[in-house]
Symmetry: C2
Amino acid sequence: MKLLCSKNDLLKGINIVSKAVPSKTTMTILECIYIDASTEQIKFTTNDNQLGIETIISGDIIEKGIVALNAKLFGDIIRKLPDSEIALETDENYSTNIICGQSKFTIQGQSGNDFPILPFIEKKEFIEISEFTLKEAIRQTIFSIADNDTNHLMTGELFKITDNELKIVAIDGHRASIRNILLNNNYGNQSYIIPGKSLNEISKILSGEDEKQVKIYFSDNQVIFEFDTTVVVTRLIEGEYFNIAQMISNSYETKVEINRKELLECIDRSILFVNESGKKPIIVNIKDDELQIKINSTIGSMDEKINMEKSGKDILIGLNAKFIMDALRVIDDEKVSLYFINSKSPCFIKDDEEKYIYMVLPINIIV
Amino acid sequence: MKLLCSKNDLLKGINIVSKAVPSKTTMTILECIYIDASTEQIKFTTNDNQLGIETIISGDIIEKGIVALNAKLFGDIIRKLPDSEIALETDENYSTNIICGQSKFTIQGQSGNDFPILPFIEKKEFIEISEFTLKEAIRQTIFSIADNDTNHLMTGELFKITDNELKIVAIDGHRASIRNILLNNNYGNQSYIIPGKSLNEISKILSGEDEKQVKIYFSDNQVIFEFDTTVVVTRLIEGEYFNIAQMISNSYETKVEINRKELLECIDRSILFVNESGKKPIIVNIKDDELQIKINSTIGSMDEKINMEKSGKDILIGLNAKFIMDALRVIDDEKVSLYFINSKSPCFIKDDEEKYIYMVLPINIIV
């Protein structure tokens, strides 16, 4: 095999496919980028057996061939080379020369015969969404998936399509994050649970440009994200997701409108007194036109008031500071609305059109 | 005690004195900033028993007093407060309120009776140097002090004054880094060994401005750095430093003039094949008008050539890649000169006026 590529094109490809290289594995072949230049295209593939990524890179194929190169070493070498044309040459023993100007590297490649190339999936049902919208929606929900595996469903995000609406939901047992997205077409009723880890990696690859589209193809146990010259395949999580409608309540006893940044900064200060387990609540006292946040710990205490507009009853409630901050951080609005029923019921942060809904369960406080 | 200060002034003071707060200690008082507003000034002091820092901050003293506050907690609180005026109020039990706008923190302070305030040192002999020059000279040498304590002298830097010249030297047994600085006055002959750890912290505090001066006072076992409104006191290392003159040779068999950046980037690429112990040498082959760098390891090999100008003999020598890079990184010149005697003798990187001299011992290679 012999290829000529620019450093930038190589590096772009390496950065994309590296997201599916497992950090720990006993199978050295999974640590490799599978470089397939056996046809008219240069295709990089990686696969950690849950997530697989393929991307086509620009370059000239002088001699066709296939080789699998250790992703980290190959990436490190390309990264350190000057911004210029790079030649990749592999001999019959897969010894690979990487040549750039007067610099020559030699590393040992593998045939790639045992590389798990991506499964063929028949592309039928799909939805289309902009890279920007998908990247944002993942960022705005992914923090509330469960980070351990006690409930496998909670490690994924629900993608629920109803006609022209896509609902993305993440739940960790203490809170829920929901984004509702309007699609350009009607896609009927479908719902899938996608592993959070895969979505995290996909969101890193997405350019975030509004004018570029992602096609999402679903099959029974896999989902394909297709964008630019890249294809990402991930397994689906099997099972019946939680009943969202049942969790969400539209009735409330107290509604608060408050400056998002002021509230976020105030809660951020309170974090200093939250213990590491995060179980110590902040005490939120909503009274008249002030929202007061208090916290007491062995190392000290905080007490702060913020002006707000309230409709409905006064309320005193204990909340997890980090959960509220996570939601406030990903909301773009200058003002946010908080809804409460009573001190034993969840708090909702949502906009009027319900483009976003954040639900946080209260923590019992002794008053 | 009651003080009124701007967030910026408080934070500036906290950032300066935090450099002498030990990360690990069993004495909780050493984790504190000692705030002394018992006179007309607000003085912050910290002391880890090797390094002590005092700084005067701006602010209004409404009520005089003294309190010791946990440095980390106090710093975290001030950092998170809005950019505005902050009141510090301590009651007779050293319970301290930190008030900013509608935000009130309460933390428990200490009397500070057991705080090790800095020793009084009679200020006699001193030298004067700009903040910029001192900060730079530390940065350009400190990497070659020894990082373990097997030879205590090597954990410090020699400050050797001869008339109007200050020589700063760091040696770790495999290399030496020397900077020669011209002073504005004659200060006779003196030499001191200053702990590298202290110099590291001092260089972080120095503003690096050329027009600001540092006064360095020496006593038998302490040295004081005085600049801006800050005083830093550190113990000296006792003992007789190595004979530098004996290590430096001005004769050579090979002189190479080469582009610094090209050489640095080339060696940086070779680092990929150096094992973690760093003991694997790069092989430098200086022949005709090319400098060739080669390295071979179990994971691959590199071979690169750079154009250069040579006078004297060809030479093949094994060198520690990291040591050469450390020196090249802190040299500002576009071209550097390398001097060699033979493959068993040290390599020198120095400028014509010997403002800087970097010496690196060779590593034996089997040819």
